[in-house]
C-alpha cells in the first residue's frame, strides 16, 4: 500500500484558490468550512509565497493522539480519517493540530460546535465505500474509485501534489534539480518529521 501524502511546491503556487474551490465542490463542504485553504506568506514583500494547506495526514497524528473518544483511524494508505458518529465535537483535535485542519460546522458556544470536519484525502469515511451515507457525511471517496484528491488533480501549475509520498517526493526532487531552486516541501517536517532530500 502507498503512504499517501500531500506536497506543496510553493515556488509554483499562484494563489488561484482552485484547490479550495475544487474541494468544496467535490465534497459538498458546507458553508463556513474550508477543508483546504491557501495562505500567502510575506504578502506584497520580497519572498512572497503561497501555500495551499489542508490536513496533511500526519505520521503519528496529533489529532488522533488527543481525541478523548478515539474516533480517529488511519487507513491502509496512511490517510488519517475520523468517525463522525463517534466525534463529540470537543475541539481537542483543533487545539493539537499544527495545521488548523479540524473545522466545525458551527462556532457554537455552549459546546455546540457539531461534528468535526476535515480533509479526507478524498477517501470518504468509515461508512461503506461510495455509499450515499458516506458522501453526505464525509464527501467524495475518490481513492475508492482509483483517483487521487481533486485539489491536487486539478491544480493548474501542479504546485499541489497528492499521492504516494515516494512518488511525489521524486517528482519534486527532479523539479528542484532541473530548475535549480526549491523552498522545500511545506509542512513535511511538521507532519512527517522528514523533508525531501534533494
Amino acid at each position: 500500500m502507498a503512504r499517501m501524502k500531500f506536497l506543496l511546491d510553493s515556488d509554483r503556487c499562484i494563489e488561484c484558490n482552485a484547490c479550495v474551490t475544487a474541494c468544496k465542490n467535490e465534497n459538498e463542504v458546507p458553508w463556513g468550512i474550508n477543508r483546504r485553504r491557501v495562505v500567502t506568506l510575506n504578502d506584497g514583500k520580497a519572498g512572497e509565497r503561497s501555500v495551499s494547506m489542508a490536513c496533511m495526514h500526519c505520521t503519528d497524528a496529533p489529532c488522533a493522539a488527543v481525541c478523548p473518544v478515539s474516533c480517529f483511524y488511519t487507513t491502509a494508505d496512511a490517510v488519517v480519517l475520523h468517525d463522525k458518529d463517534l466525534c463529540i465535537g470537543c475541539g481537542y483535535c483543533f487545539y493539537a493540530c499544527p495545521f488548523a485542519a479540524p473545522q466545525y460546522p458551527r462556532l457554537g458556544n455552549f459546546g455546540s460546535r457539531g461534528k468535526m470536519d476535515k480533509c479526507t484525502f478524498c477517501a470518504g469515511g468509515p461508512q461503506e465505500d461510495l455509499s450515499e451515507a458516506e458522501y453526505i457525511q464525509y464527501g467524495a471517496n475518490r481513492l475508492a474509485e482509483g483517483k487521487l484528491p481533486l485539489c491536487a488533480e486539478m491544480c493548474s501549475t501542479k504546485a499541489l501534489l497528492a499521492g504516494d509520498g515516494e512518488v511525489i517526493a521524486q517528482i519534486y526532487r527532479e523539479r528542484v534539480q532541473k530548475r535549480g531552486y526549491g523552498s522545500g516541501a511545506w509542512g513535511w517536517l511538521t507532519a512527517y518529521r522528514e523533508s525531501v532530500a534533494i
Binding site: V66, G111, Q177
Partner: protein, 330 residues
C-alpha cells in the same frame, strides 16, 4: 608589484570559482524562505499569512504550539491527574486505617445547634452536585478512553461523553453562581486570624490530639474555602474561555486556558476528596452540618468551641431534641 598582481589574480580566480559554488549551495540546501519558516517552527512561532476566504483564523499556516499542548494533555495532565486523584484516595485510605473515625468526645449530648441554615445547605449542595458531575465528565475527557472505552465500546462511550460534555458546559453556570454565593455568605467567617495560627501549630483536630480553639471555621476549613473560591474562579474563568471559542481568545489562548483549567481541576478534585472524606466517613457527627444543619452540641464544642460560645451568648442555638418535653408536661 608582481606579488600584488598575482594576489589579485588569485582573488579573482577564487572569487569567480566561488560564484557557481555559491549558486550550487543555494540549490543544494533549502532556500531562505523555507529555512526561516523552519527556524520559526523550532522557536515555536506560529507561521501566519494572509488569506482570501472569510475565515481569517485560517490565516495561521502552522501552529507548532499544538505539539506542546498534545504533550501536556497526553503526558503531563495524565500523570498529574492520576497521581492527584489516586494518590489522595490512597492517602485517605491509609489515614482511615491509622486514625479511624474521629469520635465525638463524650458521645452525643442529644442537644443540637444550627450550624448551616437552609440557604447555606442548598447552595452547598448545588455547588457540590455540579462539582461531582463536572469532575466526572472532566476526568472522562482525559481518562475515559483508557478506562471506560474498553469496557463500554465506542458507541456507548461516545454517548456518555457527549452528554458529559453538555452537562459539563451547562452546569458550569450554576456552579459559578454557587461559588459567588458561597463567597458572599461565608467570607466573613473565613478571614484568617490568630486562632488559625494556633490551630495549625497544634496540628488541627485531625492530626494532633486535643482539639485546639476554633471559631465557626478552623484553619483547615478556611483553607478548603479559599481553595474552592480561588480554584473555582480559575476553572470558571478558563472554562468560559473554552466554552465560547474565539470570543475571548485565539487557539493559543485556548490551549493555555485548557492547561490552567485541567490542572486546577484535578487538584481541586483531590482536595474535594479529602473534604468529602472528613465530612462523612472520617468524622462522627460532621455530616449533619450539611444534611439537617443541626449538629450535636458536643461535636460543636469539640471542634468549634469559640463559635459555640458565641452562638450561645447570642441566645440562639442549643435546640432541645424533638422528643424533649417541657418540664411538667408529662
Amino acid at each position: 608589484m608582481m606579488i600584488r598582481i598575482l594576489a589579485l589574480l588569485a582573488i579573482l580566480v577564487l572569487g569567480l570559482g566561488a560564484v557557481p559554488a555559491m549558486a550550487q549551495g543555494t540549490t543544494a540546501s533549502p532556500s531562505l524562505a523555507d529555512e526561516r519558516a523552519v527556524q520559526a517552527l523550532l522557536r515555536g512561532e506560529t507561521v501566519h499569512g494572509r488569506i482570501t476566504i472569510p475565515d481569517q483564523r485560517a490565516a495561521n499556516l502552522i501552529q507548532p504550539e499544538g505539539r506542546k499542548w498534545r504533550e501536556f494533555h497526553n503526558v503531563t495532565l495524565a500523570w498529574v491527574g492520576g497521581i492527584a486523584v489516586l494518590g489522595m484516595l490512597a492517602l485517605l485510605s491509609v489515614f482511615f486505617l491509622v486514625r479511624g473515625r474521629i469520635p465525638i468526645e463524650g458521645g452525643r449530648s442529644g442537644r443540637t445547634i444550627l450550624r448551616f441554615n437552609a440557604f447555606e445547605r442548598a447552595n452547598h449542595w448545588m455547588v457540590a452536585s455540579c462539582f461531582i458531575v463536572l469532575a466526572l465528565s472532566g476526568l472522562n475527557l482525559t481518562f475515559g478512553r483508557h478506562v471506560l472505552l474498553p469496557l463500554m465500546g465506542p458507541e456507548a462511550f461516545t454517548e456518555v461523553s457527549h452528554w458529559g460534555k453538555y452537562a459539563h458546559n451547562f452546569l458550569a453556570f450554576p456552579f459559578t453562581l454557587g461559588l459567588v454565593l458561597m463567597l458572599l455568605i461565608w467570607v466573613k467567617d473565613n478571614i484568617p486570624n490568630g486562632t488559625d495560627i494556633r490551630w495549625l501549630k497544634a496540628g488541627g483536630g485531625l492530626v494532633g490530639h486535643g482539639e485546639p480553639d476554633s471559631g465557626r471555621f478552623n484553619a483547615g476549613q478556611k483553607g478548603i474555602f479559599w481553595i474552592t473560591v480561588l480554584g473555582g474562579a480559575a476553572v470558571a474563568v478558563t472554562g468560559y474561555m473554552l466554552i465560547f471559542p474565539f470570543v475571548f481568545t485565539d487557539v493559543t489562548g485556548m490551549q493555555l486556558s485548557h492547561m490552567i483549567h485541567s490542572i486546577t481541576a484535578v487538584l481541586l478534585i483531590a482536595v474535594m476528596l479529602a473534604h468529602i472524606y472528613i465530612g462523612t466517613l472520617g468524622m462522627d457527627g460532621a455530616v449533619e452540618a450539611m444534611t439537617t444543619g443541626q449538629v450535636d452540641l458536643n461535636w460543636a464544642k469539640q471542634h468549634h468551641n469559640l463559635w459555640v460560645a458565641e452562638e450561645l451568648a447570642k441566645g440562639r442555638a442549643a435546640t432541645p431534641p424533638d422528643t424533649a418535653k417541657a418540664a411538667g408536661a408529662d
